[in-house]
């Protein structure tokens, strides 16, 4: 394969997310981009990774790209298919999940997430899906990766509703609460957007880690509703390889339903 067309923003997100999974063992998979990222990672940087779907599947081996989290293709050929009670109790709360993927309508500088409502809870402007498993994934997966497109509507100073806790009001508060409340995990470790990759610094606040090829700091600043921390120097996000693009375009999302 050569003469690939350059990576799209979605493809950059997917490949950066896959890289963040290097060497990980057990990943809680969501639908959409996280699903493609995880399947890409399994074919490249994390071949031993076990995929866990909240629908009740451990060690999934999907023969096609699942449209939904409950697609029959994730069941057939899996290592274990279990009840939701077992999945959320034994696997997630029991502390067996290394990485959980989350997204949301809103995220704040500390990685707290809103997937519940825009506007007032009792009389919302937009009613969103709600928690699903996000609230407990945020608390119990050992680490959290967030995938979201940047915009001032979604990267906000203040959430309308906190569905899933991240670093709360900062690293100190978060560490204290995690210990006192027996959280299984240590919260968000990275945010992957269409413009770059972010980590969390010692204050528990989001900070740019790498900028995607083609993206600018102006774009980054203009699409985040607070003054984002940007270190003195930072690398560019590695450009997707031809093989990564081929896997996405030919195997994982041949119709371009998600990554276009």
């Amino acid at each position: 394969m050569s003469a690939q067309r350059p990576a799209s923003k979605s493809e950059l997100m997917v490949v950066a997310s896959a890289h963040a999974l290097t060497g990980k063992r057990v990943c809680f998979v969501g639908v959409g981009l996280p699903n493609i990222a995880v399947n890409l990672a399994k074919r490249t940087v994390a071949p031993e990774m076990e995929l866990v779907y909240e629908a009740g599947v451990f060690g999934a081996n999907p023969a096609r790209l699942p449209l939904s989290i409950g697609d029959p293709t994730i069941v057939t050929g899996s290592t274990a298919t279990v009840s939701m009670h077992d999945l959320f109790g034994l696997y997630l709360q029991g502390g067996r999940i290394d990485v959980g993927f989350l997204g949301g309508a809103q995220i704040d500088r500390f990685g707290n997430l809103n997937t519940t409502v825009i506007g007032d809870y009792a009389a919302p402007k937009t009613r969103l899906p709600g928690s699903g498993g996000a609230c407990e994934i945020a608390i119990n997966a050992k680490e959290i990766l967030v995938i979201m497109r940047q915009s001032t509507r979604s990267f906000v100073k203040e959430l309308d509703f906190r569905t899933s806790p991240g670093n709360l009001g900062g690293a100190v508060a978060a560490a204290k609460t995690r210990a006192a409340q027996g959280w299984g995990g240590s919260g968000p470790s990275g945010v992957i957007t269409d413009l770059g990759v972010y980590g969390f610094d010692d204050d528990g606040e989001m900070a740019l880690r790498s900028l995607h090829p083609g993206a600018t700091l102006d774009q980054v600043r203009a699409s985040i509703g607070w003054e984002i921390r940007i270190p003195q120097s930072f690398p560019a996000t590695p450009t997707p390889t031809d093989e990564e693009l081929r896997l996405i375009r030919e195997e994982l999302d041949p119709t371009g339903a998600y990554v276009s």
């Binding site: 009670h85 709360q93 498993g133 407990e136």
Partner: protein, 310 residues
């Protein structure tokens, strides 16, 4: 051993679903009894409290048809597609039609909903879990509370039992006494069934009791807790039944378009729910080839040996 509980869907819904009831049609993406949902719409049940982890299209349709006064849930979406627009029209004040009122909303996380069914099924006054810490959910749902461990005093969260008046589950097979077997995603069917006062079991196939007894570990609900058994092939469409047919992803996407418009939604209900007398008519309306296209090739589990001990 017992007498048959086999009835048609009309009879099952007429007998066990009443105005004002709390109804749980469970099945996590898999094995959702759309056939039962549509019959509840046809029988024009009103003021139902609809409980379900993921309301999915089935509750979007029931809400559109005016069956519901309240939703109890943990994730409100069209899985893999987007929003449930009929429900959004009843939950966002700006979208509310004249004369309509907002749906009551009681909302949890997935583990919380599972815990509610588990507490209901185990006859426990609460179910403890490590969730909700520092989430706003407990602020808007007074039924998410804390409980103190008697060992060390640690506080965790707790949810109360949920005991539906009727739980409706779909599965691959049952015998006429209502012993239900299922494979693939198990969701919280077992817990929701044991928590309920009545259970309607809808299955693709009625099998002799000897088939059930040949593999007793596959039973998710015994006839003991089942009030009615309905045989309804393709009764879970557009959701799916592992090994029998695929999820109709095209329809899930199509519903996104239909349901954005109240009139189109009503027209769909007229044609596909009110306009057919039962699920067999619904299936016939698609034409036989349609379902052939959803049928997977075979992936057999293989047989294991229980041993004949005499």
């Amino acid at each position: 051993m017992s007498t048959s509980k086999l009835v048609d869907m009309r009879t099952a819904i007429a007998a066990h679903v009443h105005d004002g009831d709390t109804v749980a049609i469970e099945g996590f993406t898999h094995c959702i009894s759309f056939a039962a949902g549509h019959e509840i719409i046809r029988q024009r049940r009103r003021n139902l409290t609809l409980a379900r982890m993921t309301p999915d299209l089935v509750y979007d349709q029931m809400v559109a048809a005016g069956c519901a006064k309240k939703l109890i849930f943990s994730w409100l979406g069209n899985p893999g597609v987007g929003s449930l627009h009929a429900i959004r029209r009843r939950t966002e004040p700006a979208a509310l039609a004249p004369g309509e009122s907002l749906l009551e909303i009681e909302e949890y996380s997935h583990h919380g909903m599972v815990g509610r069914y588990v507490a209901g099924a185990h006859r426990l006054p609460f179910y403890p879990l490590r969730s909700y810490s520092e989430s706003d959910l407990p602020k808007v749902n007074p039924l998410i509370r804390t409980v103190q461990s008697p060992f060390g005093g640690e506080e965790v969260y707790a949810v109360p039992p949920l005991n539906p008046d009727v739980t409706i589950i779909h599965a691959q097979r049952a015998d006429a006494e209502g012993n239900v077997q299922m494979w693939g995603l198990l969701g919280c069917q077992k817990e929701a069934a044991f928590a309920a006062k009545h259970v309607i079991a809808v299955v693709e196939e009625i099998v002799p009791t000897s088939v059930i007894r040949a593999d007793p570990n596959r039973t998710i609900a015994p006839g003991l807790i089942v009030s009615a058994v309905v045989c309804e092939p393709f009764g879970a469409h557009p959701s799916y039944v592992q090994g029998s047919y695929d999820r109709d992803n095209a329809f899930y996407r199509e519903w996104d378009t239909i349901s954005r418009d109240a009139a189109a939604t009503e027209a769909w209900l007229q044609e596909w729910v009110y306009g057919v007398k039962d699920r067999a008519a619904y299936v016939a309306k698609f034409g036989g080839d349609y379902f052939k296209g959803l049928t997977p090739t075979s992936a057999p589990s293989g047989s294991v040996d229980y041993g004949d001990y005499r």
